[in-house]
């Protein structure tokens, strides 16, 4: 028993590293109240170490802590994404203007961030419903606070309020759903559930009910229509760095959890592996359900984004739409789909963070997040504007940017699976998305700057970091073999 625990601990270094980072930050925070960077760098270091541990884990494929959590390629892929996102977010936070006013609290900021990271890393690994709920809550609670971290700002406070109410209710519903699922199957982990369902699945009604209730929670985290309503307001209110991490990291984690939960629990294990195409348990057509949600997400997300003037809000809707695109990969019930989701997420990380980053740079200098206010910036901040354009074009999915590759593989998988109507919707909505993305570029470039305005000076560091995000976005557009291989080798989940 104890050696089992010890062995498990040996497979658990990344999480441990995060927890230790948390503790170090707490301690350090006591001594370094005055200046605001130490804790940030500590957290950065912690993340790097965590990253190293994650990479060292690669190739592992087992389940630890009494089948509570799996350490498998799938989880590792997502952990890599999460750690990357975390590292970028630290850079964001170090440069963020909004956080400057909260120097004295910056320590707590990073503590909460590390808590969030831990929660997300557990989410992508967990195979146990209780742990799933726990990780979920850990992530949520820390992000509630982070959203409201700039508490003096009304919008921020409101955002955190909305977020927590919405989140509490969703997680409550999800918990209720979990209780039903556990009750009907009598198992608390996904393998058990799957086994029980494969054995006999006579209860579609109650199962669908519980699945839907759980989806309320998961959908809330991933901001999928129709559980997305919080996203725009929260993104708008939150500090940009937090909005970014919500849009990228917690969406990624939620999708990882969703994929694992559905594929492990509700896949009929018989029709597996030969073709890499699965089939659902008799009577529970959750993939149809997800297809509907995906379609809704694409349509509503893209259409509503047309109307937004606040860049964060626009990006919020775009991220809702992207969640829709991503879900398509899960709908088609094939490893190909999963792989394309992973490719998409990998590329999405860079391009979306990039967009947020440029938005942050502008808001740092101009104190505005309104797209209308961007007019003429192309002449005052050429590099940043060009970068912004590239990121947005990539989000639209035009070659030769990474976004195109992401969409290519996703659409390809869907076409191959024969869900033509879905991919048709995806195509049309992509065209629509063009408008709000290109509108930013248009405001940047098509207008002479009002009056005689000086060019804006940006720090060298920011420019370098911009390239760190820009180069992958472009490079992945023309050379993406590594990502393909990475994703291909990472689709393997423990117990499948």
């Amino acid at each position: 028993m104890i050696e089992q625990t010890l062995h498990s601990l040996s497979q658990f270094y990344p999480e441990i590293a995060i927890v230790l980072t948390l503790c170090v930050i707490i301690v350090a925070d006591l001594f370094t109240k005055k200046e605001s960077y130490t804790t940030g760098y500590i957290f950065l270091g912690g993340l790097v170490i965590t990253g190293i541990f994650v990479v060292m884990q690669s190739g592992q494929n087992e389940s630890v802590f009494y089948d509570m959590i799996a350490v498998d390629p799938f989880a590792i892929f997502f952990k890599v994404l999460l750690v990357l996102a975390g590292i970028f977010i630290v850079f964001f936070s170090l440069q963020s203007r909004e956080l400057k006013d909260y120097k004295s609290r910056i320590g707590e900021y990073y503590m909460l961030l590390s808590g969030m990271m831990l929660g997300m890393m557990l989410m992508v690994g967990t195979t146990n419903l209780l742990l799933m709920y726990l990780a979920f809550e850990l992530t949520s609670i820390s992000s509630y606070v982070l959203v409201g971290f700039t508490k003096k700002i009304h919008k921020s406070a409101e955002a955190s309020m909305k977020y927590i109410v919405y989140g509490a209710v969703s997680s409550g519903v999800m918990l209720y759903g979990i209780s039903l699922l556990i009750g009907i199957t009598g198992a608390t982990d996904m393998y058990g559930i799957n086994a029980a369902l494969v054995a006999e699945s006579g209860q579609p009604l109650i199962l669908n009910l519980s699945i839907l209730m759980i989806l309320v929670g998961l959908g809330f985290k991933a901001a999928v229509v129709p559980f997305h309503f919080w996203a725009p307001d929260v993104y708008e209110g939150a500090p940009i760095s937090i909005a970014a991490i919500l849009a990228v990291a917690s969406k990624t984690a939620a999708l990882g959890l969703m994929i694992r939960f559905f594929t492990v629990s509700f896949i009929d294990a018989d029709g597996l592996m030969q073709t890499g195409v699965w089939q659902v348990i008799e009577g529970i057509h959750w993939n149809v359900l997800l297809a509907g949600m995906a379609a809704l997400a694409m349509i509503i997300g893209n259409l509503t984004a047309l109307m937004q003037d606040n860049i964060k809000r626009m990006l919020a809707y775009s991220s809702i739409a992207h969640a829709g695109y991503l879900l398509m990969g899960l709908v088609i019930l094939s490893e190909e789909g999963i792989a394309s989701i992973m490719i998409y997420l990998f590329i999405y990380l860079f391009m979306n963070l990039g967009a947020f980053y440029v938005a942050m740079l502008f808001s740092n200098k101009l104190e505005t997040e309104s797209i209308e206010q961007y007019k003429g910036l192309g002449f005052r901040a050429p590099l940043e504007s060009v970068a912004m354009t590239i990121f947005l074009v990539s989000l639209t999915g035009l070659p030769p940017t990474g976004g195109f590759i992401a969409k290519l593989y996703l659409f390809g998988a869907v076409v191959n699976a024969g869900w033509i109507w879905l991919v048709a919707i995806a195509g049309i909505t992509t065209v629509i998305s063009l408008f709000y993305y290109i509108r930013v570029a248009r405001n940047l470039f098509f207008f002479k700057p009002a009056g005689k305005l000086m060019p804006i000076k940006f720090e060298l560091g920011s420019k370098i970091f911009l390239f760190v995000l820009l180069i992958p976005t472009l490079l992945l557009g023309i050379y993406f073999e590594p990502v393909l291989n990475f994703a291909k080798n990472s689709i393997q989940m423990f117990g499948m």
Binding site: M1, T5, S8, V19, L22, F65, Y66, M68, I69, D101, Y102, K103, S104, R105, E108, M111, L112, G115, L118, L122, N128, L130, L131, L134, A135, E137, L138, I141, S142, Y144, V145, G148, F149, K151, K152, I153, H154, K155, S160, G183, I184, G186, G202, Q203, L205, I206, L209
Partner: protein
């Protein structure tokens, strides 16, 4: 008609009635106290389900902790004028329709479902085995819960306490 049956109905009645009062009462303080009765009733139900430890925890944590917290919240967020204890309701109609629908749906589902009923071994008391499990199968959740509480405390502190340094207080 055995005692347990009677008790069950009694307690569930108390619970539900209290909950209903909590929901429909106009005065938030009343609601708070109604909530207390609900929680106690739930604890009693736990006892009926042979979950003594859970019942105890329920009383301690909820009644002793959360409820007090909530009352503090009530006090801190109202300037003592009694009228402001009043809580107005919004979108009543959709809310009631939806919740009734939910209830109906759930109850229908429960009654039509065939739960694999099996009466397992009766634990005289659960504390010991729970403790064992906590150190065994559930050690990871146990640790994580610890972290969670830590994070929660930090978060609460961040949110609740005033900022020490003076900052330009933009109110947009």
């Amino acid at each position: 008609m055995e005692l347990t049956t009677i008790l069950f109905y009694l307690f569930s009645l108390v619970t539900i009635a209290a909950a209903a009062t909590m929901v429909f009462s106009k005065n938030i303080v009343h609601s708070a106290f109604a909530l207390m009765f609900t929680l106690v009733g739930v604890a009693a139900l736990y006892v009926l389900l042979y979950a003594d430890f859970l019942a105890a925890t329920q009383l301690l944590v909820y009644v002793g902790g959360i409820l007090i917290l909530i009352l503090f919240g009530v006090m801190l967020t109202t300037q003592g004028h009694s009228f402001s204890f009043k809580t107005i309701t919004v979108n009543l109609v959709p809310a009631s329709i939806l919740s009734i629908a939910a209830a109906g749906l759930l109850i229908f589902a429960f009654t039509t479902t065939d739960w694999g009923i099996s009466v397992p071994v009766e634990h005289s008391e659960t504390v010991h085995s729970l403790g064992m499990m906590l150190m065994g199968d559930y050690v990871l959740p146990f640790i994580i819960a610890g972290v969670l509480l830590l994070i929660a405390i930090i978060g609460a502190v961040v949110m609740a306490t005033k900022l020490s340094t003076t900052i330009n207080n933009q109110s947009n």
